[in-house]
């Protein structure tokens, strides 16, 4: 009888058996344990977009910047004490939820709209809204369009797999207007087609329109209509059934809002540690045990403000007065200033 090692087929069979028999059952037991997993791993896996100025885009040195990116850095500062311990994964609109559901990323911070279907039917949770936005239209000035009603019969370029397609359908249908929709997989392709003249209008979240307009050849030739046709609360997403992690995400954002309310900034956080104000002392962890209740270290709030900043600083740096986009605070101002950003008391 020939020696067994001369039969490659047997070796293949043995390898298959070994893989099948001893292979891991994937991930079902990690549902609900994301916070522990991150702390054990020592790195936060954050899902971002493939490049949207102001929200998540790599700069010329390859470093990620944007308001969504800064939120992930704040999460890393809160859970791991170091805002640099983040791995960013660029995701297209099509795969973003699958990546989160499968466990490839811990949090999706990708200018994603919080909707009923996504919250209820897709096993996702949206703990808090970090940016209140709405859908707008970008048109050429030469077309003399002043309001969306003038767009009857127009051609619109949109990004596939977003709430934009459905909003356009609803808006035009209920007003009895006709339109044609040209749907691209990537927003760069949609903007390129708009600029080439394939469409009359490019429609997306208003913040995205500002970001795309500055990249056009002659930004001044294009105007963003003032009318907003939908509500787009952009929120980070986590897996459903993971309340501990959802709490961390929610209260990290509220910590940044509270810091803005109390006047604590990146620059003065060191001196604020010596403050007598009980709200500031609880935020920065000098007093109380808020950090322990969340499962984080006591100085989580201090690390967030020191390494990333408060909400006003993050907003201004990425999309506001200190950035090329120059978007007004508007709905994203604090509630006491007339906006919608409101943090419950941290006590």
């Amino acid at each position: 009888m020939t020696k067994l090692y001369r039969k490659p087929a047997l070796g293949l069979l043995a390898a298959l058996f070994g893989y099948v028999g001893l292979g891991p059952v994937q991930a079902a037991d990690t549902v609900g344990a994301t916070l522990g997993l991150i702390q054990q791993r020592g790195e936060l896996f954050c899902g971002v977009s493939e490049g949207l100025s102001g929200f998540s885009s790599p700069d010329d040195k390859g470093r990620w910047t944007g308001i969504d990116v800064d939120f992930c850095r704040a999460l890393a500062a809160a859970t791991l004490g170091d805002a640099a311990k983040v791995r960013f994964t660029p995701l297209s609109a099509k795969v973003r939820f699958t990546a989160l559901q499968s466990g490839e990323i811990d949090v999706l911070s990708r200018n994603t709209t919080f909707t009923f279907t996504r919250d209820v039917n897709q096993a996702l949770d949206f703990p808090v809204t970090t940016y209140f936005d709405g859908q707008g239209f970008l048109v050429r000035k030469a077309l003399n369009v002043t309001k969306p009603r003038d767009l009857d019969g127009a051609t619109l370029c949109v990004n596939q797999g977003t709430t934009t397609e459905q909003n356009v359908a609803d808006f035009f249908r209920t007003r009895g207007m006709t339109y044609e929709l040209v749907t691209f997989e990537k927003s760069e392709e949609a903007v390129a087609a708009y600029e080439a003249g394939r469409c009359d209008v490019y429609t997306s979240d208003a913040s995205g329109l500002y970001a795309q307009r500055i990249k056009l050849h002659v930004p001044g030739d294009h105007v963003i209509l003032p009318d907003i046709i939908s509500k787009e609360p952009l929120s980070p997403a986590v897996r459903e059934g993971d309340d501990r992690w959802a709490n961390v995400v929610r209260w990290t954002h509220y910590a940044m809002l509270t810091a803005e309310e109390l006047g604590v900034t990146q620059a003065n956080v060191e001196t604020a540690r010596k403050s007598d104000n009980p709200d500031i002392r609880r935020l920065l962890g000098i007093e109380g045990d808020l950090g322990a209740q969340l499962g984080l270290s006591a100085d989580w709030g201090y690390q967030v403000v020191k390494q990333v900043g408060n909400y006003a600083e993050v907003f201004d740096r990425n999309v506001g007065a200190g950035s090329p986009l120059q978007i007004e605070r508007g709905e994203n101002a604090l509630a006491r200033d007339g906006g919608l950003q409101f943090a419950p008391p941290m006590r």
Binding site: A9, L13, L16, F17, V20, G23, V25, Q26, A27, A28, V31, A93, K94, F97, T98, Q101, T117, R118, N121, Q122, A123, L143, L151, D152, G153, A154, T155, C157, Q160, G161, T162, E165, Q166, V168, A169, D170, R173, Y179, E180, L181, V182, T183, F184, E185, E189, A190, A192, A193, A196, G197, R198, D200, R239, E240, G241
Partner: protein, 383 residues
């Protein structure tokens, strides 16, 4: 005479060559079944643990999005199932048109490469070598954005006799509608052609006047319905043309890119087939005094087709699957509409991707089966 006694079972399974083969195959089957079962079990357990919806019930939900070019009536209130059908028909249309164009172009190029004229064969070689080696997605972008950029916008479009307009949003053509007589007239044309084809096949001689049958029969049917006629000429409104039909640049770019790319491969297959015919056949035909065109049609091509058809099947399958690149240029094919928009909106990735793969598999198997029928006709009849 007695038969030899059968050996014990264990000895049969391990000592004889066929016995060992049976054991090995059973073991492999067991491994494959176990692996498949483990993957399905893993998927189901994880989907349930994460509370993700499953099943195909979503196909009945309202879609809520528009499709820019739909071959069937479709509105935002149609179901996802209808969107799937629209995308599927778009894919089939593009694939069929692409296959026909690629074959014709590939045949011409294959002959051109074999031409004795250095200029023609040189140009054909450059074409084949360039287009085979550049990725299809890049070629698709070139056709789409190279077609869009130079064409004027609708308000300044090229005017073709006042009936048709060419601009960067498409080719606007006038449309003619025959009202209620539309389908009957179409059926009459097909019937007429079928009658003429069968008549020519089964009777040696067919009068030249018989070609009038597929022309007169539809006209007669049209008169019976009261001769309805409605023509629409495109009119320019504020943003776009309204009326008539339009061929969109997405469709044009996709068909052109797919056809030219696949034609480069088909050209090489055709060339290989023609070169495979023994030189003696051509020399014998020349000795009989046949002219070049006649030789190619009657002697070379039937023998070349034996070699051409099997690899041609692969190219057709490649073209069908490559049509899924349509999503990059906003053409609503199956992948774009179903595995793109619908997947993003419902989140049921496993069912949607599985169904899409099953559909492409079915399309490919159908094409392969059709080509196998053709192959059987040309294959050498062996004893």
């Amino acid at each position: 005479m007695d038969k030899a006694p059968r050996r014990p079972l264990l000895e049969r399974l391990t000592h004889g060559a066929s016995g060992r083969a049976v054991v090995a195959q059973l073991a492999l089957l067991l491994v494959v079944v176990l692996a498949g079962g483990w993957i399905s079990h893993n998927t189901i357990v994880n989907l349930q643990a994460r509370n993700l919806a499953s099943g195909f019930g979503f196909l009945n939900y309202t879609a809520g999005f528009a499709i820019s070019q739909s071959p069937i009536p479709y509105s935002e209130q149609s179901t996802y199932g209808r969107a799937l059908l629209a995308g599927l028909i778009n894919t089939i249309n593009v694939s069929l048109v692409g296959i026909v164009c690629a074959t014709v172009l590939g045949y011409i190029l294959g002959l051109a490469r074999l031409s004795r004229n250095i200029l023609i064969s040189g140009l054909a070689t450059i074409y084949v070598e360039t287009l085979r080696n550049v990725p299809l997605l890049l070629q698709l972008f070139v056709w789409y954005f190279a077609v869009l950029q130079p064409l004027p916008k609708p308000s300044a479009s090229f005017d073709l006799l006042g009936l048709a307009y060419l601009h960067n949003r498409g080719l606007q053509l006038p449309s003619v509608s025959l009202g209620a007589a539309g389908w009957p007239v179409f059926a009459a044309v097909l019937t007429g052609l079928l009658v003429v084809a069968l008549w020519a096949r089964y009777r040696r001689y067919i009068s030249r006047l018989a070609v009038l049958v597929p022309v007169l029969l539809p006209v007669f049917v049209w008169m019976v319905y009261g001769a309805p006629f409605e023509a629409q000429i495109p009119q320019l409104e504020r943003f776009n043309f309204v009326g008539g039909t339009v061929v969109r640049p997405e469709l044009m770019a996709l068909i052109v890119a797919l056809s030219t790319y696949t034609a480069a491969f088909i050209a090489e297959i055709v060339r290989a087939g023609i070169l495979s015919v023994p030189r003696g056949q051509i020399e014998a035909a020349q000795a009989l005094g046949l002219r070049r065109g006649h030789i190619r049609r009657s002697v070379v091509m039937p023998q070349a087709l034996r070699v051409i058809i099997p690899p041609l099947t692969s190219q057709y399958l490649n073209l069908t699957k490559n049509s899924s690149l349509a999503v990059a240029i906003a053409f609503p094919d199956l992948v774009s509409v179903f595995a793109g928009t619908t997947l993003s909106q419902t989140g049921q990735a496993v069912e949607i991707v599985g169904l899409t793969m099953a559909i492409y598999l079915t399309l490919s198997l159908l094409i392969a089966a059709a080509m196998n029928l053709a192959n059987r006709r040309f294959a050498l009849k062996e004893r």
